[in-house]
Symmetry: D2
Subunit: 345 residues, 4 copies
Amino acid sequence: MAVSGASGYAGGEVLRLLTTHPDVEIGAVTAHSSAGERLGAHQPHLRSLADRVIEPTTTATLAGHDVVVLALPHGASAAVAAELGDDTLVLDCGADHRLTDADAWTAFYGTPHAGTWPYGMPELVLDHGERRQRDLLAHVRRVAVPGCNVTAVTLGIQPGIAAGVVEATDLVAVLAVGYSGAGKAAKTHLLASEGLGAAVPYAVGGTHRHIPEIEQNLRAVGAAEVSVSFTPTLVPMARGILATTTARLAPGADAAAVRSAWEDTYAGEPFVQVLPEGQWPTTAATVGANTALVQVAVDERAGRVVTVTALDNLVKGTAGAAVQSMNLALGLPETTGLPVEGVAP
Amino acid sequence: MAVSGASGYAGGEVLRLLTTHPDVEIGAVTAHSSAGERLGAHQPHLRSLADRVIEPTTTATLAGHDVVVLALPHGASAAVAAELGDDTLVLDCGADHRLTDADAWTAFYGTPHAGTWPYGMPELVLDHGERRQRDLLAHVRRVAVPGCNVTAVTLGIQPGIAAGVVEATDLVAVLAVGYSGAGKAAKTHLLASEGLGAAVPYAVGGTHRHIPEIEQNLRAVGAAEVSVSFTPTLVPMARGILATTTARLAPGADAAAVRSAWEDTYAGEPFVQVLPEGQWPTTAATVGANTALVQVAVDERAGRVVTVTALDNLVKGTAGAAVQSMNLALGLPETTGLPVEGVAP
Amino acid sequence: MAVSGASGYAGGEVLRLLTTHPDVEIGAVTAHSSAGERLGAHQPHLRSLADRVIEPTTTATLAGHDVVVLALPHGASAAVAAELGDDTLVLDCGADHRLTDADAWTAFYGTPHAGTWPYGMPELVLDHGERRQRDLLAHVRRVAVPGCNVTAVTLGIQPGIAAGVVEATDLVAVLAVGYSGAGKAAKTHLLASEGLGAAVPYAVGGTHRHIPEIEQNLRAVGAAEVSVSFTPTLVPMARGILATTTARLAPGADAAAVRSAWEDTYAGEPFVQVLPEGQWPTTAATVGANTALVQVAVDERAGRVVTVTALDNLVKGTAGAAVQSMNLALGLPETTGLPVEGVAP
Amino acid sequence: MAVSGASGYAGGEVLRLLTTHPDVEIGAVTAHSSAGERLGAHQPHLRSLADRVIEPTTTATLAGHDVVVLALPHGASAAVAAELGDDTLVLDCGADHRLTDADAWTAFYGTPHAGTWPYGMPELVLDHGERRQRDLLAHVRRVAVPGCNVTAVTLGIQPGIAAGVVEATDLVAVLAVGYSGAGKAAKTHLLASEGLGAAVPYAVGGTHRHIPEIEQNLRAVGAAEVSVSFTPTLVPMARGILATTTARLAPGADAAAVRSAWEDTYAGEPFVQVLPEGQWPTTAATVGANTALVQVAVDERAGRVVTVTALDNLVKGTAGAAVQSMNLALGLPETTGLPVEGVAP
């Protein structure tokens, strides 16, 4: 298989996971500005691939692979995918093909909509639990990999919505996000000197592009109407998302119903775990693993359910979701090649 | 003046501010387990006080000072204060005397209530703006210094409540908090090895002891009823609080009214600044300064106002508030000896 | 196999590696004060073992396993090992059995020497290259796992000593060390509030207990006489060691000879890599991997060779070395179950 | 006075110190690409200057000030200074005018030498203690502010060289350096995502431009010959330098002579402090302060003296040195406006 965007964080993480995947052979690794250089110069942690030479991202270098991962800037994947055959499995880590609503796409991204692909979040509950999204991924040849913040919020709150124990309107999500989520392009506000010792919000006030994707997911779960206040904050860590999401407790619901909703939803899921009552997730426990840790509590005083999700934005938030979806699309066991143990401390 | 708890973080920060305060002479520095040792062994950054010997915290060592700062564990200050004369200005950095509601105290702290002291948050708006809390601090001889998280949330949201442009019920506050806020006692979950690279929540689900203090403040501002979902998360920084607080937009209010409410409330405040529209606060800009930076936006889609406050938990959150209140109580200019410039990057 | 010290960092990392080792079944996980609790409460990142109950560390719980890893405080392993049969493979992550010189042991540790076990650093060059330490590890039933700082310094400088291109006297090593190297016991100076934003040395001036182990290694390589100035410094990262070691260039040696010495020494080593000329190692590239990255340069002006080694103190520095040695002792392929790809960024 | 480079880290720190300097009025604040913007948009921590508009750095904007600070890229200050009158005090935070040896300049910087200015390190011991550099700074009108790494190494080791208790050849210095030392220009390897959790060396092997400046300083102290192996490493902190410097103990010298040399040298210095024996410096204790903390020990086993210096690269390493030199040049008390208390934790 081929991986484009191989010198960036998402592409690098896909490659890291593939090095230990038993059913995959890594073919072309491609990128744009770093083409012609050793991969080891850009990804010194990928020792077994260090001497691979990065090829340019073109139809020619990507063609001929059974599977192609696109880890490109938003807006770049549609043109590339169009050149790849319909029997090639294409996994897009960018946003281009996630939204079903072309208007929402254009409102948040400002460009024409590129079309909708099957959505690569296998654990997404559909229609209050009738099915899960994994049921729709068998044999597909196009996958839109979800956004990392979206995954954290969706996995955190969907059990309550599916079970009807929380309201889907007036959700509030605040996220602590590590810097790799902002990508590898050099920008002043992303410098270590700026980020060390600092917490700072971005895209506040309903402007973040992940909002329509969250809404779309929760409607798929079964919510008639969704509204979410969404605020991400950068904190001094390289990886990780800690998403705190609160929702109003639905009339008639109580703490026991909430607990059951969360535990039942994830009882059989290999990569999402509801922690024992009272133990709250830390992002450290998920580093490098395709794991989302979830906890929930009812704040009777405030009338709200609080759920916290920890995951690694580059694994369960991006590259792990891509590999998990690939496994499903190829008919492999879903968990193949995906670590569940985090690297901590 | 005397400072107890001098080997801890709050006491150390009070001392740091006092070293450059023109109207104060530092007398006894006291502590418990470190009594008899050089202050420099515990606070190596306080160079001008390094050779001071820490005295034990007793009535004898504290007596005879015009001003006494208590930076003691919760529950320890009432007994000490009782022994100090009524004409001694006593500033309590602990929680013991903050709450007016004895039942709320006992519900969250589990001990009998020690009585209520004048509250050391000069910027607190009272009765929709009739007065501010500073008007009540002249010549007092007892001050309850506010909690650091409480200060961040209160300063962030009170303009909207005072002006009636947001609802005070169903507030949601999520905070990124630095480790010095957890104190200097050695605990496994506060180790650097655990905290570096991790974000982790604590006291989730309505259990945090700062909740009744927030509610009390917002009722003082003018809210008939208050409810707040409050979730603090530890992130890898030594100092700083970034509080993201959201409130439902009040019926009839709009973005212009919100902006005016925030800007008007803090127009004359020396230590609280509403940033220019679109610039969001970073905790880094407040390190070492008695500064709270505030921003606000209206999320029309979600129907919520989002306000973010950044401050240094040890300065504006604790020691700076103590000194500011001391200045008022002693009839000094309120800003005496208090830095407004942060140490960044 | 059994792992003691399972609630600590070294024991936890051994367990993490074993979860994906194809030839090992994890039996008893034992500890002292946490016995009786869920492993998941102490090691939340070890998801597949989360529901294991920690047993007490006793002869009874450890006996009956083919392989036992001891990750205990210094001084505790001899007594435990004595109770385990001679056909049990015992790997001691502590220092007790590393030194051959009983006097050096007593001088630095202050207790009687517990005897010397085969040394678990397979890449150690013996007698100027006649053999490597791995040749001595086949079928052994006791292994002393090396110290993490020792591994970083030894791997960095041994090529020059083996080839005679640097002098082994007057070495100077300064290390930047992450906090997990200091263990999980709660101590004030190891708090996140103290460590974030700070660099601080410890055990300066020839007092560090790792010094005699370094000297012993370099004598094994072939140095007639060794002296090393060794200074570790704690820096704000959870994992990792960056060891900068300098040695005087030997008379007659030049840059080409130095380069050859380093490249030739590690040409066939699976876990130690000399980077391409001009690329310097970062600890980030080794996180979670059993990898040491090495670079070397000649400073003509100063007459010194400078070599820098990056490794993960918990993997190549401890747990990975244990597993690698176990593989050799059991006759398994040396690289079995050991990751070479780091988790970065 | 005027400050150029006002949107960068050095210029920003000069401004921070000047805001509380009693004898200075801040005139023009200038920069290049950010000219025309609010200072608050680039330096949000400088609250009292937030509404200043950044002017372009030109002769016209700088002229007419009694004092001008140049915080410009290397190579840019000579041309600007030439346009400023001889009675203007010009302090250059860049390297252009530090070296007396034009050949050394050209060898390390590759451009023609711009001439030598009086060197702004007041504590530099001259001629084994006959004088200090401060004696040469009265009434000067040009000052070359030292490099930050140079200051840390020089202050650490000069007592031994002045007293003849260490050898000046074969020095080895390894530094842990915070990211603000690398400046504010956006570069991939300086991103927070790259730096968090990582230690990485740079300019290894005798290539760092600070080397000839160190040598020049130590010759001024009295060394006949100097050689130094110098390796800086970036570690995850925003500010701070921890310099570990070792030197061979001179024949006949012992621990008592070493201790005396260090303590005597700095007995009267306001900004350099030798810590009590056994207490090692942490960079955290110097943040924001014009303080260098120094400790020394003799490693008998290795035959080397080890000295560690902690300072804030932006204060004692740059901006504080500039203000301290300015005070001397203007005939003000040397300590005016310079904080000695660090901001910790």
